[in-house]
């Protein structure tokens, strides 16, 4: 496989496979797709070819876009409240039921 670490040693062999998303499940499928793609094209070409796959996987692992979305929406909500476009009763959306999640 072309995905070997920069300095290979018995320690990297031992610990390389310990942390992966295959244990957790949510991003396992995306990770597998990324690995398949990178294995097919190699690292250098794969970076371009598998760009969307890698970005999807990184999003799934890091949740950057999602968290940024939440922050933007909160900020917009509070901005509207401070600007007077939103009343206090209207500030938040009531949750339907507590144990829905």
């Amino acid at each position: 496989m072309s995905l070997s670490p920069f300095l290979r040693s018995p320690f990297t062999d031992l610990t390389g496979a310990m942390v992966s998303h295959q244990w957790y499940g949510q991003c396992a499928d995306m990770e597998l797709k990324v690995m398949d793609c990178l294995e097919a094209y190699g690292v250098d070409k794969g970076r371009k070819k598998c760009d969307t796959l890698i970005q999807d996987f990184q999003e799934c692992a890091s949740r950057k876009i999602r968290n940024q979305r939440i922050i933007e929406m909160r900020q917009e909500r509070h901005r509207q409240y401070k600007a007077g476009e939103r009343s206090k009763e209207d500030l938040y959306v009531p949750t339907i039921k507590t144990n829905g999640y």
Partner: protein
């Protein structure tokens, strides 16, 4: 100096009473074999009662388990229904909230989708914070501390 005449103590006339050394045994209600037989008899009787009790306990357990099995899919479906309803509420709230923000599309970050390769109709399940993104912090904390209140 007249010396007092010492008088020796002597037994009473007619001699001492005889010492009562005869053993007086406690009154016995049951004989030994009767006690052992009674022990086994009462144990056998209580074992039978215990068996009857076990039967009824097992029967109640089965009853409760069947009720749980019967209820579980319904509770699960109810929870899923509440979940989907809340997702809809969240989407509508986002649409209403960000309608004046230029370049914002619902479900994206200024038009940038969360995932690029997924099909359009895939349900991207929100995270915990995302699920409560439009909610009051009190509701969020209530759900977070639910296990501590129950």
């Amino acid at each position: 100096m007249a010396a007092a005449i010492p008088r020796q103590d002597m037994p009473p006339t007619g001699g001492y009473k005889p010492i009562p050394y005869k053993r007086i045994p406690a009154r016995t209600y049951f004989s030994g074999p009767a006690l052992i037989a009674g022990y086994f008899g009462i144990t056998a009787g209580s074992c039978y009662l215990y068996y009857l009790n076990c039967l009824s306990v097992h029967r109640e357990e089965i009853e409760r388990r069947s009720a749980e099995f019967a209820l579980y899919p319904m509770l699960l479906a109810e929870r899923d229904r509440v979940y989907m309803k809340q997702l809809r509420v969240n989407r509508d709230a986002e649409e209403e909230l960000m309608k004046n923000v230029p370049g914002w599309e619902v479900g994206t970050l200024y038009g940038k989708p969360v995932y690029r390769n997924l099909p359009k109709d895939t349900l991207i399940e929100p995270g915990y914070v995302e699920y409560y993104a439009h909610a009051n912090y009190k509701d969020f904390a209530k759900r977070t501390n639910l296990s501590r209140w129950s």
